[in-house]
Structure formats: C-alpha cells, structure tokens
Amino acid sequence: MIAGVQLFCRLMMTAIRGQMQYRGAFLLMVLGSFLTSMVQAIGIWALFDRFGNLGIWSVAHVAFLYGTINIVFASVDITARGFDTFGSSLIRTGQFDRVLVRPASTVILVAAREVALHKLGQLLQGILVLIYALVALDIDWTLGRLALYIFAVSSMYAFFYAIQIVRATMSFWTIETLEILNTISHGGMETAQYPMSIYKESFTNFFTYVVPLACVAYFPIVGVLDMPDPLGSTLLTQSLAPLAGFVFFAVCLSFWFFGMKRYQSTGS
C-alpha cells in the first residue's frame, strides 16, 4: 500500500515536470480553464441578478455549492487524466499490454501516467467563488458540520473519480472513449451547481438512486448549510448520504477489473 502511494507520487512528479517544459502553452491552458469555468459563474450571477433569490437559495448559497463542486471536479480532472485519455492513448495503440506486464497495480499506473495540471485554472476559480460564499454566508462551523463537509468533499471526489474509471473501462469494449459519459461527468457537475430540488422528479431520482450525484453533493451540503429541503431529507439521511459515493467508487472499480479480464489487445 505504502509502496503504491510512493510509486503514484513519483510518477505524478515526473508527469508534472514533463508539462513544465512548455511553460507558455501551460499558462495559456490554465487561463483557458479559468475562463471556461468563469463563463458558467457569469451565467449564474446574471440569472440571480435578474430574478433575485431562487426560493430560499440566495446567490451565496449557490456559490457555496458551485465553489465546492468546481474545486472537487477540477481536482479529479487533474489527477484522473490518465483514465481520461486511456482509450485513445493506451487501448487504441495497444500500449496497455506493456502496462499489464509491469509489477504494479494497473489503477496506479494508469492514473499517474498523466496529470492535467492546466485544470488549476478551474480549481482557482472554484476557490475564489467558495471564498466569496464563506464570507457572504457566515456559516456557524460546528465540529459536526465541518466533519460532514469533509466527508461530503471526499465522497464527491470518489464519485467523480469513479465516473472517469467507468469511462476508461468502457473503452475495453469500444476502443474509443465515449463522449456520452460526459453528460454524467461534466453534465453532473453543472447539474449539481444548482439545488437538486429545482429539477424534474424523474431527473432527480436518476441522479439520486442510479447515479448518486445528489447523495454526494446536494444532500450533505444542505445539511452543512442547515437549510430546509423540499425533497424531504433529514439531517440523518444527509449525513449518511455521502456513503453512496464510496459504494459507487467500489462498484466502478470492480467494473474496471472485470473489464480488464475481457481485454483483448488491439496491437499487431
């Protein structure tokens, strides 16, 4: 386990050093990532400016949700890049064969192969929005709330990471990476930036019971912000909901190992 973590860190450092060779291009990409996520924030701001509050949700409440999710999503994008490009750069080329013969876990080798450091732009943008929310909201941070927030953030990380693993796993069959799963990763991120209670019931149910997005983001955050929930969750369910993120991760990881058993090389 410790050896695994050490290996992961070393591979990551190598990937970072590689990226830093192209400093100009790197800085431009950071700026691009910052602007792309800024655009969404401008949209949210414009709507709140025009319509006032969204029920009990003020712009600061949504900023808290938005900032948290963007920070987590960017962190996942940075550290799961190897899975993101898995189909095109390891499966289609047949290079995965070489990964298989190495004496370390395929999960670590694939994960640490690349790092998307330019997503620091989105990360920074998320942090700025979160700071605004923290200043504007003045949350009463009891120990319980802080613990719930940390639990929620780590579960969110596991959730979005798991989706990247599923995307990569699909390419054992499809060879290419499927864009359609972007609706759950990027689409999920955009969905979860607003309170779940504004969506249609079938949509909310899908994102609660099939893909547990609401369990890792909306429910625990409602608990932290101590807001009433029209969907009817209680503090107990809000506190337990993030468990779903870790279960989801475990299921997706076993799907990865299942896919790997079915792997037939494409190389010649």
């Binding site: 431009l28 655009v39 414009a46 709507l47 689409g187």
Partner: protein, 279 residues
C-alpha cells in the same frame, strides 16, 4: 468577379464534400454529441424554468421565447467561433502555408471556403436529429412545454433564415481571424483561449442576452458576437418584432462586413512579411 465566384463555389463544394465523408466515418460520435446537447438543453430549461417560476417581476422574454432560444442554441452550437480549423493550424507549424500561397486562388476566400465547410458540415449533420427531438419527440413524451416551437409567423421564419445566413458568415469571419492571428502568433491557442471566455457569454449561448442586467444592455446590444445567437434566435421566436428585424439584420451584416474587411486587410499585410516555419 464571375471567376472568383465560380472558384469559391467549386473549392467550397470540394472541401465540404471531403469534410462530410470524413465526418460520416464517426457516426457514433455524432450521435453521442447530439445526445449530449439534448441533455444540456434539458438542464438549461429546468434551471431557467425554476427562475421563471419564482420571478417577482415580469422577465423581459416569454418562456416560449426562452425555449426556442435554448434549443436553437443547442442545435447550432457547432457554429460558435471559439476554436479554429486544426488542419489550418497544422499548415502554420509545419510550414505548409507556403503551398497555400502558391494556389491560384484568393487566399482569404479559399480559407473562407474551408472554414465554412469546417463550421457547417458537422452542424448540418447534428442539426436534423436535434430538431426532430426538440420539436417532435418532446411533446410525445409528455413535455410539450419544453418543445421547440415553430417560428412566430411565416415572415419571422423567413427573416430568421436571412439572419441565419448572416450568422454563418459572421461565424466564419471570426473563425478566420483566429486563423490569421497565426501569421503572427504561430500558435492560435492564445486567441482561442480568449475566445472561450468571450464568445459563449456575449453571443447569448450561456444565458439569453436580454436576461443580463439592464445596465449592460446598451453594450450587449451593439457588440458583434450578438449576431451569432441572440439576433437570429429572437427573430425566430418573435421576441424581436418584424419591424425591428431588418434593422437588427443590418447591424449583424455591418459587423460581418467589417470583420471580413479586417481579415482581408490582415491577410494582405501578412503575406508581405511572412516567415515560413520548418525546413
């Protein structure tokens, strides 16, 4: 002039056919793209619908106009000039641009034809299934309030078609400016990066422009990116009345002409001081 038009039409037809053949190889990708756009459209409508449901004062647009705006935007998203033709980028880094200069065609209009193909071919491919879903399938599955409505009237439809043609020209004129920036920058990524931030917001793709704060409206009204979404989409839904439509299209056309002349001027200057990469 006649020769120029024939050359333009023929080179355009050739590149567009080539591009279509290439795209048809990736049907699964196109389908996945459409599904993604539809999903995004639904989220946008739910978010905007939630705001409309709690609105205290009457919003500047009806919800039907919003629905038309969102779906037209999702279906035509490929026309937005926030990136540029990677094949043309390749010409600059490899030095292949020297061959382009040798062609017996006007460089600006040849690239315009290529850009037109790059912008329109994938959009045409995705447009039809997207419209079928938004206009016909949504009412069938019990969501008629989300369905893409027909144009407000026959005349609105015709004005929309006219405005849409200008939109395509405008989009190409902006895309080609990004390409031309490579004469100076080699990497167009710099300008592209900037465009990621500017184009979606100022065209109205993120939030319909009339919903932005009142104090921003005078500026939003006159800037060129508005011609990419806001003008045609609002003519379609009747949010811009027919009496105003011709004036709006004239403004859209004026910006397009200015940007084309600007690009043409830049390309003429760039040719005299071009350093070809590679060896």
């Amino acid at each position: 002039m006649d020769g120029l038009v024939t050359a333009f039409t023929r080179s355009y037809a050739a590149v567009v056919v080539a591009r279509f053949r290439m795209l048809l190889q990736y049907r699964a990708a196109a389908l996945a793209g459409i599904a993604t756009q539809i999903f995004w459209g639904c989220i946008k409508l739910m978010v905007l619908g939630a705001f409309y449901a709690v609105a205290v004062t009457t919003p500047p647009m009806t919800f039907t106009a919003i629905v038309a705006y969102v779906w037209l935007g999702q279906v035509l998203i490929g026309l937005l000039p926030w990136n540029h033709d990677p094949e043309l980028q390749e010409l600059f880094t490899s030095g292949g641009v020297a061959y382009e200069l040798l062609r017996p065609l006007d460089l600006y209009w040849f690239w315009f034809a290529r850009t037109l193909a790059y912008r329109t071919a994938p959009t045409l491919l995705r447009m039809v299934p997207g419209i079928v879903f938004a206009a016909l399938i949504l009412p069938l599955i019990g969501l008629p309030e989300w369905a893409l409505p027909a144009p407000a009237s026959m005349n609105h439809g015709l004005m929309f078609a006219l405005s849409f043609v200008v939109t395509v020209m405008l989009s190409c004129a902006i895309t080609i400016l990004i390409t031309i920036s490579m004469f100076w920058l080699i990497e167009a990524r710099g300008l592209s990066t900037f465009m990621y931030g500017v184009v979606p917001v100022f065209s109205g793709m993120i939030v319909p422009l009339p919903l932005f704060p009142e104090w921003m409206q005078p500026f939003l009204q006159w800037q060129p990116f508005r011609g990419l979404c806001d003008v045609p989409f609002r003519i379609y839904s009747g949010d811009i009345p027919l009496t105003m439509a011709s004036q709006e299209i004239a403004l859209q056309f004026a910006w397009t002409t200015i940007l084309i002349l600007f690009g043409y001027g830049l390309i003429t200057r760039a040719r005299t001081r071009l350093v070809v990469q590679g060896g």
